[in-house]
């Protein structure tokens, strides 16, 4: 416990230096937050109340659709306007070794020496949903130390990694030209959570046709009766997203994209954004509830008992529900 207190004190010193503008301290605060230990906890305690001013922009889309290149292009334009930019770029971790190859910086290196741009790569560390377990917290750190805009770039996503929508204020979904017909656009999932759909690689054939197909299909979902057994109706229905074409490598379409982002940022928060903020808080709290419970079940005096229950599930002697009831009961006693 003394060790934890010392780690927390060290974190407090780092946080104050980070707030004063020291970038190495900021980098180390992010490491602490990413490690989810007592130091990261102490750092967030100080920083979380300072966050909430930046525009958090999620950027998601399939591998190779140009997320990193588009983030770099938007960063250039924002810097030209004198605005500071933080980037959290997530790449997948190996499910086998836990290792990761974080390559998003390759497209962003032109900004690496600008003190008003801070790029941090994160490995997903086994977390599903397109982000790392601490991406939201890391974005809050960059927000708290004063970056104007924080981009949260997900791993290359498929159809249903929608977690970023609960983490960001505004979600940009990238599509590449000719990635599918109208039916792809009416499937549930990623496109549903888009505030802005960007057809990138606009210099390729088919880009404008892809954009008009998306525009035609992604109309607002009417608020009418819902099917029996549908999810609870506490999530506001999305508006029709803006659809536009960019060419990130040349910068074409980027000013238009930034104008839409600024318009969204300036608009009074609609019920969807309020719901997103609430969902973000909920995700964070429930994740920590899970971690804390697990921590209590894995303390030295309980670990053996917990492992025995899990082994019983593995042998099919106990079903997972009964196992959890048993573990929770043991905690309560």
């Amino acid at each position: 416990m003394g060790e934890d207190a010392a780690a927390a004190r060290r974190a407090e010193t780092l946080v104050e230096a980070a707030l004063a503008g020291d970038r190495l301290s900021l980098a180390r605060v992010l490491t602490a937050v990413e490690s989810r230990g007592p130091a990261g906890e102490a750092a967030l305690r100080r920083l979380y109340p300072l966050a909430g001013k930046a525009h958090l922009v999620g950027v998601t889309g399939p591998p190779g659709s140009g997320k990193s290149t588009l983030v770099a292009a938007m960063t250039s334009a924002l810097r030209a306007a004198g605005r500071s930019v933080g980037v959290i770029a997530v790449d997948p971790s190996s499910p086998i070794t836990g290792g990761a190859l974080l390559g998003d910086r390759v497209r962003m290196q032109v900004h690496s020496q600008d003190d008003d741009v801070f790029i941090r790569s994160m490995a997903a560390r086994g977390h599903a949903g397109g982000l790392a377990p601490s991406s939201g917290a890391a974005a809050a750190v960059l927000d708290a130390v004063g970056f104007d805009t924080v981009f949260i770039e997900t791993v290359g996503t498929g159809q249903s990694e929608v977690e970023v929508a609960a983490t960001a204020d505004t979600t940009v979904v990238l599509e590449a030209p000719e990635m599918g017909d109208e039916v792809q656009a009416i499937k549930a999932g990623l496109l549903e959570v888009a505030d802005i759909v960007v057809v990138n690689k606009g210099d390729r054939p088919g880009a404008s046709r892809t954009a008009s197909q998306l525009r035609a299909m992604l109309v607002a979902v009417p608020r009418v009766g819902r099917a029996r057994g549908a999810l609870a109706d506490d999530r506001p229905r999305p508006n029709a997203p803006d659809v536009l074409v960019t060419t990130a490598t040349s910068g074409a379409g980027v000013p238009e994209l930034l104008a839409i982002l600024d318009r969204r940022r300036a608009a009074p928060p609609d019920e969807r954004r309020v719901a997103a903020q609430r969902a973000r808080a909920e995700d964070q709290v429930w994740a920590i509830v899970g971690e804390r419970l697990r921590g209590r079940l894995e303390t030295a005096d309980r670990a053996n008992e917990t492992r025995a229950v899990i082994d019983a599930v593995a042998r099919h002697e106990l079903d997972p529900y009964a196992a959890v009831d048993k573990l929770l009961k043991a905690l309560a006693s």
């Binding site: 970038r23 980098a27 180390r28 990761a100 190859l101 974080l102 910086r105 801070f118 941090r120």
Partner: protein, 134 residues
């Protein structure tokens, strides 16, 4: 809590365009369980050090085949020291004449890995020598 994976920056400072070795190593270290940040070709020492700082890496690996290592490497180690990052392990790979190895080590390089080094050797060296952190 699980131990956090070591974070390694693999960078190619200078102007040679031969990044096969750097990519093979980056991929190999990924398979050894490291979190590897790869930054691409033609980096200045300043770019390498900024990336290392923002990413808070434990190790900086420099791949140089151009012969400019006696200029580039000391510049990287000097910048790391200036930015209070002298606890970051610096290793060099590529084509480095034996005669230069001692001088590089004097400049703060922990190891020089020439052709024929296996990924497992590099991984083992990094695990043994990189700073240990919470």
């Amino acid at each position: 809590m699980a131990e956090r994976p070591l974070k390694v920056l693999i960078a190619k400072p200078g102007l040679d365009g031969h990044d096969r070795g750097a990519k093979v190593l980056a991929r190999g270290l990924r398979d050894e369980g490291f979190e590897v940040v790869y930054t691409g070709l033609r980096q200045t020492p300043e770019m390498v050090v900024s990336a290392a700082l923002q990413e808070d890496v434990d190790v900086v690996g420099l791949s140089i085949l151009s012969g400019a290592h006696m200029t580039l490497v000391p510049r990287v180690t000097k910048l790391l020291a200036e930015r209070k990052m002298d606890d970051v392990l610096v290793v060099v790979g590529g084509i480095i004449p034996n005669d230069d190895v001692a001088a590089l080590k004097k400049d703060g390089v922990a190891a020089v890995f020439g052709p024929g080094t296996t990924i497992a050797e590099v991984a083992e060296f990094l695990r043994t020598n990189a700073r240990s952190r919470a």
